[in-house]
Symmetry: C2
Amino acid sequence: MIFVITTYDWVPPFAVGYVRDLRIRWACEEAGLPYEIETTSVRDKTPQHFARQPFGQVPILRDGQLTLFESGAILLYLGERSEALMPREAAARAETQQWLVAALNSLEPVVMAMALARIFDQDARAEELALPRLQERLAQLVPVLKGRDFIAAGRFTIADILLADVLRIVDSMGELAAHPVLADYMNRITARPAFRRAHAAQVAHFAQAA
Amino acid sequence: MIFVITTYDWVPPFAVGYVRDLRIRWACEEAGLPYEIETTSVRDKTPQHFARQPFGQVPILRDGQLTLFESGAILLYLGERSEALMPREAAARAETQQWLVAALNSLEPVVMAMALARIFDQDARAEELALPRLQERLAQLVPVLKGRDFIAAGRFTIADILLADVLRIVDSMGELAAHPVLADYMNRITARPAFRRAHAAQVAHFAQAA
């Protein structure tokens, strides 16, 4: 069974290495799950794309007859297929899902608010509102990650994929250096060979597309 | 086994009926899972609270030795414990998780950006940036929910709890009426007796606390 991951055919240079298909490539690399890539137009989003993904986003995963979107949901799905991604034991599994959801719902929204303000809207007032909210969340994560190698269950999980990838966005905006505990965690998790392979593959994909 | 749900001891009047413990009460009511309520101070958040919930939020669920936060993660956990909340079949289960995550990561952030702008920050520029993003997402949901009774798997699931509860926030800001398909869905889902019981219980809790 080969998973098929749909991503865009092109993105602007600043987005290369940050498109959410990276999270799915990374999970597949960690678990040794084979996958191939299909593309959909980002500049002319098609009715077929919206029919599969109502928000016109990527990634989309196809597994036989099943089509799934939302990187967080795809990670939960792959996590159930490979113990390399999510433990089987109930409490460890619940803790993994807790931190996956925390990254999606309590951290990523404040990170994206900051990215929208600074990069997309370039709006000083919006940035002034977003920055303290981002800094508060980052500060709250520091005691959690201090002395902890992984965010959940004492081992690598899909929660690390999501949390480290969201922290990469923070780092790209220059806001992570003030929190060495978080920067160390991100650097440690993204030093994994599976991340390196996934990242290189995404960069190569968009270089070819350019 | 009795679940223990932690919520705040008090919230301002506009938040009554919207505190996230509602989602967990609702799931327990749907599944016939007994629960009791404990409170933690919202005005003087304690070190004990932050030790259990790094962001100082509620709800927190206790199930024996296990403590869990993030309403989305708690719903996933309860979903695994009751088929009334999440189907067992793999594809239906994946679709349920997909829409739960979509509500958490693609809808709730644009809704909360609007709520922050209009209610908390009362900032005209922030609202001007947030409103079109909210309206775009709502418009994208309309074709999905047209002619569909439930958001996922052809039946009631935890994805409906999350999606309908996020749409309630939109409705409270007066922005849902322009989308009758979404308003009908929200009204239908929140007409369920389990929602009514959960909502009444939260309102009674904060009335007593006032």
